[in-house]
Symmetry: C2
Subunit: 251 residues, 2 copies
DNA sequence: CGATGCTTTGACGAACTTCAACGCGGGTGG
DNA sequence: CCACCCGCGTTGAAGTTCGTCAAAGCATCG
């Protein structure tokens, strides 16, 4: 069960050997329970930039964990627009919003070449009956997702453009940090358009804010590449965010 | 276990005799499983208008189902403001956002005299291991909550004042309808202030929109009382809302 | 009956969107 | 290898929506 081998097209890394172990679903599981989970997980070939992991209306079968790369989820609105509902970075789950309807309410598109673990939900549910700690972790993950959505709501409800972009950059920063990457320097895989859409702002406003942030010495930005010079100030500007983290998990 | 009696201060109605049976947690449960759930549920004395069911930071022990009345949940923001994160009507659950953090990230205040069922989460979790259909229902409820939050996000991200208020009124309408009340006529238990806060609008803007809606013949409003004359048009105005319902459940 | 809190209304200004144009960079084809 | 093209990002100007400020109307309650 655990002698997974690295192949060319199907990279098989057992949960126990995965660097995301502490962030992902198996967090807190005992070794033998971990293997049970490991067995039901499907490792798929990487999704290329622009390809979809699933589409709006697709039947719900699995939830997904991002192993590397990043994914955006978005829903169509009645007037034919799209609304970006979330960005999912390494170690984050998506698809949880499909459980109740039994189909995916959003489309998931890779922002760059991305590997995911596919976790068939029925089997996960069965496993949950056997492994209480997995059950609990699953509840925790879903609850955190609700909490995260509330935070996003909070952001869009009361905050101006400056605060929104600051909060967004801070959120990305925190998420990279908790995965062992630099919180001060990273590449944004999503376009300005996606960011604006997600934050409820026009692209132009996002661009202007980036310029303003840079002029004030808060950060340096060049296309996708962001270097944050003053995380404390960014934090102050973000203001609104509720006490706890901004960790995303589903979409 | 099922011979609950109506008392004066503690109204005891077994799940199987509750009119919300089809909307609430026990949906789809077999008779004997229902009784198991029934046993762990605590019926508390009603919460009066303005009283809190729980407060921000309170330790998480239970989730709650609204039996009658309504509750608003709100979180403090860093600058001392409040952000209303949800309204919870009859048959809806709240407290699900506390599972991951182990404390409540929001305060829940009664908007009118409100009865709730308190469901100790640890015991519910245990019961979930025994009763797969309860487990599944719990996942479904949590997933629906994520979906609902996404919808709220969508609303705040892209929609103007008119669309927001229309979507809000439509959501309330749908929720009353699914509980067997009139979708065309209802009383709003929350203040204009709460509505504005929830929708990310100034109170004055909400008021102006109500006036505009009334002048256009869409509805009649007098303080809390709302009569909707043209649900179809309201639906068109709300526009943005994603395909499925607006059913809330947690906060 | 006055006090208080909620709601409405009007005037004004600020923030953000929209429209338009331009710059830049990466990819493609000659 | 260079030139061109196209998408993305930036910048400027004008327009609109909504928030803020101020004041008055109106119900509820002591």
């Amino acid at each position: 069960m655990s002698d997974k081998v690295v192949e060319l097209s199907k990279i098989k890394v057992a949960c126990k050997d995965c660097s995301l172990f502490q962030l992902c679903l198996p967090m807190g599981l005992e070794s033998d329970d971990l293997e049970k989970l490991d067995v039901i997980i499907k490792r798929r070939r990487p999704v290329k930039r622009g390809e979809d992991l699933f589409r709006v209306g697709d039947g719900f079968r699995s939830i997904y964990a991002v192993r590397s790369g990043s994914i955006k989820t978005f829903s169509p609105t009645q007037d034919g627009q799209e609304q970006v509902t979330g960005f999912h970075l390494t170690g984050e789950l998506l698809g949880l919003d499909a459980i109740s309807n039994n189909y995916h309410p959003c489309t998931a598109t890779a922002l760059e070449t991305t590997s995911v673990c596919e976790i068939p939900f029925e089997r996960l549910e069965e496993l949950g009956h056997q492994i209480p700690s997995l059950q609990r972790q699953l509840f925790r993950v879903m609850s955190r997702e609700i909490f995260t959505e509330e935070n996003h709501t909070l952001l869009l409800g009361k905050r101006n453009a400056e605060e929104r972009l600051a909060a967004f950059l801070l959120s990305v920063s925190n998420r990279f940090k908790s995965r062992g990457f630099s919180p001060n320097e990273y590449n944004l895989s999503m376009s300005r358009n996606d960011i604006g859409n997600y934050l409820g702002l026009a692209v132009e406003t996002v661009s202007r804010m980036f310029t303003r942030f840079q002029e004030s010495g808060l950060l340096t930005v060049e296309r996708k590449h962001v270097v944050i010079h003053d995380l404390d100030r960014l934090h102050d500007m973000a203001g609104s965010s509720r006490s706890s983290g901004n960790t995303r998990s589903s979409g």
